[in-house]
Symmetry: C2
Subunit: 192 residues, 2 copies
């Protein structure tokens, strides 16, 4: 791992504690396995007390997505903003993503992979938020690929994005730590 990443969870308060757990469950078992009763039990509180913080199951799912987006942003994107725009920042984004997978910020691997696979064929606000956040990640990659002078920025972003997805799926299934170095090798090779 190229650098120690501080991944502070959610802010304080009961709601924050709920979402810290929710985000881990969602990443490893999905947003439907994220049950109100289960959350309440594991946190030692009542279903109705927990429910009140979100108003509905969908409200809980949306809040979990925003919490996941916050943690992803603080872990992967924010550190890259300290690098100058262009190739250094793009490199930091791509390698930071691999570090994010390797350091298991989410116990279930990439948060977005889990929730997107579950909701990409449904409709409604949950799917919309997922699309927006993943779209933002992809847009940042594309912008920085452009700033880095890539011939086809969108193509480069596509490939960097894909390396991340492939690494995540293979690691989650096979637990082969060599994958992270393979991923870094590919990233270094395709950077402009």
């Amino acid at each position: 791992m190229s650098e120690l990443v501080k991944s502070m969870p959610e802010a304080a308060g009961t709601r924050g504690r709920i979402l810290d757990l929710a985000v881990q469950i969602a990443s490893s078992e999905g947003l439907e396995a994220l049950t109100i009763g289960r959350l309440a039990t594991e946190l030692g509180m009542s279903k109705s007390g927990l429910f009140g913080h979100f108003g509905s199951k969908e409200g809980l799912q949306l809040a979990t997505i925003e919490a996941g987006a916050g943690l992803f942003g603080r872990t992967v994107i924010d550190p890259a903003l300290h690098e100058p725009s262009g190739k250094p920042r793009l490199r930091k984004l791509a390698l930071g993503f691999i570090d994010y997978l390797e350091s298991s910020v989410f116990s279930g691997g990439c948060f977005w992979t889990s929730v997107a696979a579950e909701f990409d064929n449904r409709e409604g606000p949950v799917r919309d938020r997922i699309e927006l956040h993943v779209g933002t990640w992809l847009n940042i990659l594309t912008e920085q690929a452009k700033a880095a002078g890539a011939d086809d920025p969108r193509q480069l972003a596509f490939e960097l994005f894909s390396i991340g997805q492939g690494t995540n799926m293979q690691y989650q299934l096979f637990r082969d730590a060599d994958l992270f170095d393979r991923a870094r090798e590919t990233v270094e090779r395709i950077l402009p």
Copy 2:
């Protein structure tokens, strides 16, 4: 799409009809959304009648995975076996996978992506079967990369696998058909 792919579903019989639907639901909403009551309703039969074919929910999930594996094999792997081992077969495998995504053999995109994301952090026979089938796919890619004379066959397989995963996730979320050509472009570039 480089070729018309015949993707004959399951064999005849009630069990086959069940699994044809099960496989589509699993690919687009996951193996837990694959409910016995829902399947029975959509197929116009009773829960208990349907249940009898599989003995348990886990039995249904395992049967669905085998049915998905069969369809994947017939769609992606079998056609490539007509190409000579080495680069031609590897190329056919990689491009065939992209065709498989583009032609929506599974309504929810790549069958393995969906079920792996859902179960890769659990334990038990369902997870084991998924790992085995995806591992087989990866091994075939690695063997053919070796036969094609790649410097690092495992690395090439890793990259081809990743392109497929990235294409699937981006297409499922953004429905941008350009992605398939981007994927083919990358495949042609990294083949040895």
